[in-house]
Symmetry: C2
Subunit: 189 residues, 2 copies
C-alpha cells in the first residue's frame, strides 16, 4: 500500500473515520497495530508512566476505548488517583499516528463479572498474580497466577480528544474534540 | 528466534544489558523496534500526552537517551513546564518491554549547533514548521517548512528508573534504579 492510496487522509472526516477503523481492527485482529497501544498515565508523584496494553474495545459512537487489567496493576492505582489517560498507536501500514486523551473509569467486581465469565481459561490467566503485580520478589519466578474474578478490572477510557497525524509526501494533522461534538481542526504537523 | 533462546532474560544483568542493547540498536538501525519509542509527558493541565519519537541517542554509561524535535512542538513546552518523561518500547523480536522514566533537559541554540550542522538537508526538513507545529490552520497544507537552526531542539533524557519485562513461557520483570546505582530488583509481572 503506498501513501498515494491513502485518499482518506485528505479530509478530516476521512482521518477520523480511519482512526476509529484502525482502533476497531486492533480489537478484532491480534496482528493489527492498534492491538497493542501504549497507555500513558500520571503516577501519584506526578511522573508519566507508559506501558503496552491490549485493546479490548473501540466504540466510536460512545467515544470509548476498553482495556482489561489485573486489578492490582500499577496502572489501576495510578488511574484511581489521577483518572487521566493517553492512548497512543502508530500504525505503520496506514502511516498513521493516533493519539487519544481520555477520562478513565475502573470497573471491578459484579460490574465486570459477565466479561470475566466470557474469557477463556487461557485469557483469565493474564490476571490474578500473587503476590500482587509490581511487588518485589527475591527471585524472578517467585510468583503464581491464580485467576480470580476479584483480580480482574476493566478500564473504560472515555475519549475527550483525538489527534490524528498522517505521514505522507506532505503530512496532515487534525485534532478532534468531544466538547466540539468531534468537529475537526487542521493543525500544523 | 524462539523465547527459549532468550537466555539473557534469566538474570537481571542480562535483562538490563539487553534493554540497553535494544535501545542502542534503535539509534543505529531504522528498522529496529527501539527506533520509534513512545515518549510520554505531562501537559500543563496535568494530562498525560504520548507520541512517537525517533531515538537519536542511547548511552548506558551516562544513563541517557536523546531525541531531536522541533523547538515549538508541544512536547517541548510540556517538558519545560514539567521536565518529566517516560519512554516506552515494545520489542516484538525480543519479547521485551522497556519502560524508562527520565528527567528531561531541553537544549537549543549554540548548544546544539554542532548537531544541527551534522544533519543532512533531508533530516533538517523535519524541523522549522511555519506556522509553529500544533497551531490551527484553515486547510491541511497551510504550512511550510523552513529549516532553521533556531527551530531545532535536543531533548536529553536522564533515566532515573528502568523497568524491563520479558514475556516468555513464564514472564520475568525487573526494575533498576539510578539511586541504587542500577542494582536490579525482581518484580511480579
Amino acid at each position: 500500500m503506498t501513501e498515494e492510496r491513502h485518499d482518506w487522509a485528505r479530509s478530516m472526516d476521512g482521518l477520523l473515520e480511519q482512526a476509529w477503523k484502525r482502533l476497531g481492527r486492533g480489537v478484532a485482529d491480534r496482528r493489527a497495530a492498534a492491538r497493542h497501544p501504549t497507555l500513558a498515565t500520571v503516577d501519584a508523584d506526578g511522573w508519566p508512566q507508559a506501558r503496552t496494553v491490549v485493546l479490548r474495545g473501540a466504540d466510536r459512537a460512545a467515544s470509548q476505548l476498553t482495556v482489561y487489567t489485573d486489578r492490582k496493576a500499577g496502572k489501576v492505582a495510578e488511574l484511581l488517583h489521577t483518572p487521566r489517560a493517553a492512548v497512543h498507536v502508530w500504525d505503520q501500514t496506514a502511516h498513521l499516528q493516533i493519539r487519544a486523551v481520555a477520562e478513565a473509569v475502573i470497573h471491578t467486581g459484579d460490574a465486570v463479572e459477565r466479561i470475566w465469565s466470557g474469557l477463556s481459561t487461557h485469557a483469565q490467566r493474564c490476571y490474578g498474580f500473587q503476590p500482587a503485580s509490581g511487588l518485589a520478589i527475591a527471585d524472578a519466578l517467585d510468583y503464581e497466577v491464580w485467576p480470580q474474578p476479584e483480580d480482574f478490572a476493566v478500564i473504560e477510557l472515555n475519549v475527550t480528544h483525538l489527534e490524528v497525524l498522517h505521514l505522507g509526501h506532505r503530512h496532515r494533522r487534525a485534532g478532534f474534540d468531544r466538547s466540539q461534538d468531534w468537529a475537526g481542526q487542521w493543525l500544523v504537523p
